[in-house]
Symmetry: C2
Subunit: 388 residues, 2 copies
Amino acid sequence: MNKNNVTNVSIVGIGQTPVAEHWNLSVRHLALQAMRAALEDAGLESVDAVIVGNALGGVISNQNHLGALLTDFAGMRGVEGVRVEGADASGGLALHQGVMMIASGLAQTVMIIGVEKVTDVVGSDRMSALATFLDTDYESAQGATPVGMAALIMRRYMHEYGVQLSDFANFSVNAHTNGARNANAMFRNLIKADRFASAPVVADPVNLFDAAPEGDGAAAVILTNSERAADMVPHPVAILASTVASDALAVHDRPDPLFLSAANLSASRAFERAELAPRDVDMLELHDATTVMAALSLEACGFAARGEGWKLAAENKIGLSGQLPLSTFGGLKARGNPLGATGVYQAVEAALQLRGEAGENQVVEAQVVMTQNLGGTGSTAVTHLFGK
Amino acid sequence: MNKNNVTNVSIVGIGQTPVAEHWNLSVRHLALQAMRAALEDAGLESVDAVIVGNALGGVISNQNHLGALLTDFAGMRGVEGVRVEGADASGGLALHQGVMMIASGLAQTVMIIGVEKVTDVVGSDRMSALATFLDTDYESAQGATPVGMAALIMRRYMHEYGVQLSDFANFSVNAHTNGARNANAMFRNLIKADRFASAPVVADPVNLFDAAPEGDGAAAVILTNSERAADMVPHPVAILASTVASDALAVHDRPDPLFLSAANLSASRAFERAELAPRDVDMLELHDATTVMAALSLEACGFAARGEGWKLAAENKIGLSGQLPLSTFGGLKARGNPLGATGVYQAVEAALQLRGEAGENQVVEAQVVMTQNLGGTGSTAVTHLFGK
């Protein structure tokens, strides 16, 4: 067992659906597919608790109370169920709560199911739903949306550090390269670096090749304590650290809009608890909702100096065999961003890598995998470190 | 320390606002009052984590992501924050997650803040928001609302057990008697038993004297482990058990619509873990959203035989000096039902009783207090047992 496994919690089952526009599936049917796959993977028929990561069930599908609903629908009526929400960090937060439950000893097996059904609404309805992630009174009420706020941050980044839109291109090129090999990815097409800067604008300077698409999807993991995990499955994945930090919801309330302090805090706490450092991380699934958020995460977590996060991409160090592989299954950009499920997809992908089951997306000799799931403009940051 | 304190978690701080129509306060300002009061009560300036219990922030106030928002607004920027949702059981679920976090040893102090701002919408908007607690595809889509479903259940109860509407009167009379002495109660008027059955109808047979009013409110508790609690405050309150169970969201999916199986399961688990029985409970805060739900909770938890829960009220055993005092600060009926905050109000009231600080509402020699918070039509049930 990994000496750094301070949580003593491991993943023993994983499941996921493709991220797509699942117009023929409701929230419950989508979730069921991932829940069943995870139970089968773990060789279990039920668990002690189900934690749902979901951001917009109440707003888009008029369905709150998903904890009880999904627990029952998956054939586990009676089992404790709860929903956890923190914008597009809901999945990471749900995983964190699950780690706490196992670590408490009060539950033996916990399923985390991240699920989102977002494509039932489009246009301004979609934007209004997403705007609930921001500070409603001071940002959304002025018409701001998450991608609009990312655009302001990106413009400021380009101004402060003297970089061009095209300098961010390789984040997306890499994501699509990896997504093309992932059967569960929303976009499996390749994109060309020299076409990046001229893609149709979404919110200037953020464009269609820069912003990740929201998609429908469900992903699940099952946790138990590490001793039990070793007896249950051939390749349990240890959760070396699970940390959460917060920042102001409104970007204008932050002393420095180019510093993701929650990302920094949660990463620092994770490294400290696991007695690891950024140099120990073999690959990273980060929250590339836009390329500038990817760059800022890299800087906040200690993988790059301030203002130099983009260089890791520009210098092509983020491929599967690079110095720090990113978005190894396509990331938010190509696998897609199923909001409240995203953090659980990251965990599933981390587990696949550490189990050596990543197929064409395998990072050779991945020993320590990090995931970072952000909510809103980084107001919530959830960091996990995984090992064998 | 209580020998039955298997969770080893205690409450060291409490705070609450009045339940009312707080039209001049936003969600964040309302929450802040309770959070500050709880910090002051515990003698703390910050905590390791904030867990928000809230049901409808996204639907009514267009504000999701309350974990980070409230953590920051209360002056604790950086601290981990998360929102937990399970309809009107959100507060109880948040408390349960907090117990797990302390029990894990991964957090030393956790604040649970239940908050709801529901009176900004009225009429069909209010009903639509509340209907997200039910099964949207199979109940709400047909026009069902929580009080409408309670009405169907109550009619069935009256039919099966041959009781009259007036037989439920004393649940509400008792709640208002206790609420009249509680400065934080939404309704402080007394009601007369002989007027109960003729009150204006809400959803036949449920009437205005039967259904609890939704209100705005915020309540907070701070948890730490019991050893630390004993050093921090003069009267820590031990959490003897914290359990959650689920049932089908749709009432028609249940084999018996008059048996709250989640309430039964969560209570059984709580008694088992704390090595206690219903006879050991000195007072109970239950989820009296309607009187029939109070009767069904009493039956499900072992305080009354099937079909006889109403008798505890009718035989006047539920007063402050009765055999089983209920709704000692007014319950949902008179203190008011602030949805996602309700479960935290119950915990605050339990703590006040066990600290001997309940004033005119004091239950003499209360040693073991039970709370039960239900979501929807009992699809989620959260049971807590508290002791000294």
